[in-house]
Symmetry: none
Subunit: 216 residues, 4 copies
DNA sequence: CATGAATGAGGATTCATTCAT
DNA sequence: GATGAATGAATCCTCATTCAT
């Protein structure tokens, strides 16, 4: 019987690892609950109590895993940034032409943002705080750094593209920024439109226009 | 007749006009203070007391002009949207070529956003609330409506451009959305870089790329 | 023409009297407005602004006639007590039999209370404050004094009645208190019933029972 | 079987029962503190902070047990009405003569009111609000209903008394109302005199007079 | 570790009162 | 005298955080 087997499943004696895993599991659980709550109510109006309830745990337990509400914000930011970074990591190193790379990059980004859905609103809010210099120094840097990293990688692709004659000569910094702006902006447009079919079309046209704008 | 003239020269103590002006003055004064405070601290952390102090008035006075904090949010939203609308109104009807119109539109938008500076952060936050459906129905509509209006006007310009052979054939809805996404996105990029010189270059490149992307 | 005559009406040169009269008129006007407002909203929830609007004057003007809100309470109390006192004054000295006097007293009291309607609720509230010793010393005394005066007069009537053989021997203080209790209590019953016809019948039976209770 | 017994002796950590009891305990504790405070300062001037201090708990804790100040009012009203209802319940069904029943009723009521002391002032105030239609519908009904129930029961006693020849023929509704008026009114008189000895005498005379008023 | 009852700092809002016009 | 805009003390209520169990 499956139940029996489950009960008798091997339990590793190295509790420290297990515990660590459980800790991370619950952290993730809480972060996911937090994202859900914050997306619905906003950063300030989303209560710790809501998060606890959403995660199916006690209010106090949240504080076993996070020192404060701000730390949850921070964790969400990290999580989102981490997810984004790793998602593109392989793309940047893949062995395809600059044009294909850029298109893949845009499609993937937009796909990701589309899947993030409401959560995007939190990111926006957290970043607004960051931009406001709320978390003086620390987080602002994190965000800016990620953006800079990202931009550098795009610049590299653009450079390759120019070298191999796929792209016209251009201000690489400008176009890289433009690309990022274009993705952020489209995400916003989607937020205010919520029409996946229409957005799909727009996305295609947008990518086409952008690529035409930099082609040789 | 002197007497008659005198009578007609007499300005009645009809303070209503003056008062109305004063009322609007103070409303504006408060809104400006609110924008300053909210931009600095965020929508939720910006206290009414802060606004009052910033405006150099008493806490209670704020409530003489606004029923609640939310009404202040609303007023800011209205003010910003109004400003934007009127700013572009004349542009849309001006008698220049589609290409010039689009370039002017982008330059003006970005210029305006640049000038809005911190206030942009509030708008973002207010709109995030709207997008979140916080102000169920009301504000969401206002924002969506403005965006739709805007998009329609851009679509019209694109149409003209295609007709007179300046632009390539395209999905006008898609490109219009792209344009707006560019502008929103660039505003964000600016928020996170705060480097006017660099932004100026980026702006130029962005406009060039965009126009190239839709040229025939 | 009437209008003309009005305009040319004689205006007494003794302004002090006129002014005094006007002052008292406006005081009365404000008190009446206050009674209306307080009856509707309660003592604490009835705002000075409401009173001013009800009286058709400016908020500040109220303070030309009353030093504070509490003074308005006080004035209302005085007014009601005064009205009651004078109403009974003549009754107590009229030349009718003790039995008739008592009946007249009860009927008149109840009639008066019935006519006071909602205003009775204010009196209740003001007296509750008094009973609570809110206006330390001052008003509590006024109320207690009036009650004592009233009781004394009833005791006198009862005494007369016993002497001339109309009433049985009794604890006059007890019965006097009972009489007053009975009137207060009936007023409350009316408040909770608001049915004048039914109340009329109840009143008759109540008076009959009471009189039977003290007859020889 | 010992083991079996042991197993059955085990008391599960089902705190729900205990907790429920504790919750009600603290609710009661808060209500009692509230009565004390409100009696002293009045419904509006009695602050939540006062209640918390009086109950020896934190301000926020009050809100763990009551959603708002109004809910506390409501709870007090319910508590008082409940206490009254149950107190008389047995009396109405006891197996004594109508005359004795009525006397017992009056004595018990007055005794109860005397013991309620200051709390009576709150009840008055809450009922004044109810009478004023402040709590539109809901509470007004509760009070009126209780009064009607009460009156009906008195009417039944009077009916019995008439049938068995103890009471004279009368308007039962009128006399029942009179009885209740007596009790309310006497309570008020007590509030304003605070002299237990004197009140005791008055009470006796009041009951005597009332009974004489309805005897055959 | 988990929990949720308890807490009080903090902030929106109200309204009696003042005072310049 | 009359007015109502301005004021800030006062108060209800929320919610992040703590801590005893």
């Amino acid at each position: 019987m499956v139940v029996f087997e489950e009960v008798n499943m091997y339990i590793p004696t190295d509790w420290s690892v297990n515990t660590q895993i459980n800790r991370m599991d619950k952290r993730t659980q809480i972060i996911e609950a937090a994202i859900k709550v914050f997306a619905q109510k906003g950063l300030e109006r989303g209560k710790i109590a809501d998060i606890a309830k959403e995660a199916g745990i006690g209010k106090g337990t949240v504080y076993e895993y996070f020192r404060s509400k701000e730390e949850i914000f921070s964790a969400i930011e990290q999580a989102v940034m981490g997810e984004m970074s790793t998602a593109f990591e392989e793309l940047f190193v893949s062995d395809i032409s600059p044009t294909e790379k850029l298109i893949a990059l845009m499609e993937e980004s937009l796909e990701m943002m589309l899947q993030m859905g409401d959560a995007l609103l939190i990111v926006t809010e957290i970043w607004a705080q960051a931009a406001r210099g709320f978390w003086h120094g620390h987080s602002t840097t994190a965000l800016a750094t990620m953006y800079d990293d990202f931009r550098e990688k795009i610049v590299a692709i653009l450079k390759d593209g120019i070298v191999c004659g796929e792209f016209r000569s251009m201000s690489k910094d400008g176009v890289a920024t433009l690309l990022m702006a274009f993705m952020d902006g489209l995400a916003w447009q989607y937020m205010l439109m919520k029409d996946e079919n229409r957005f799909e079309k727009i996305k295609q046209e947008a990518i086409r226009s952008f690529m035409k704008g930099i082609e040789k």
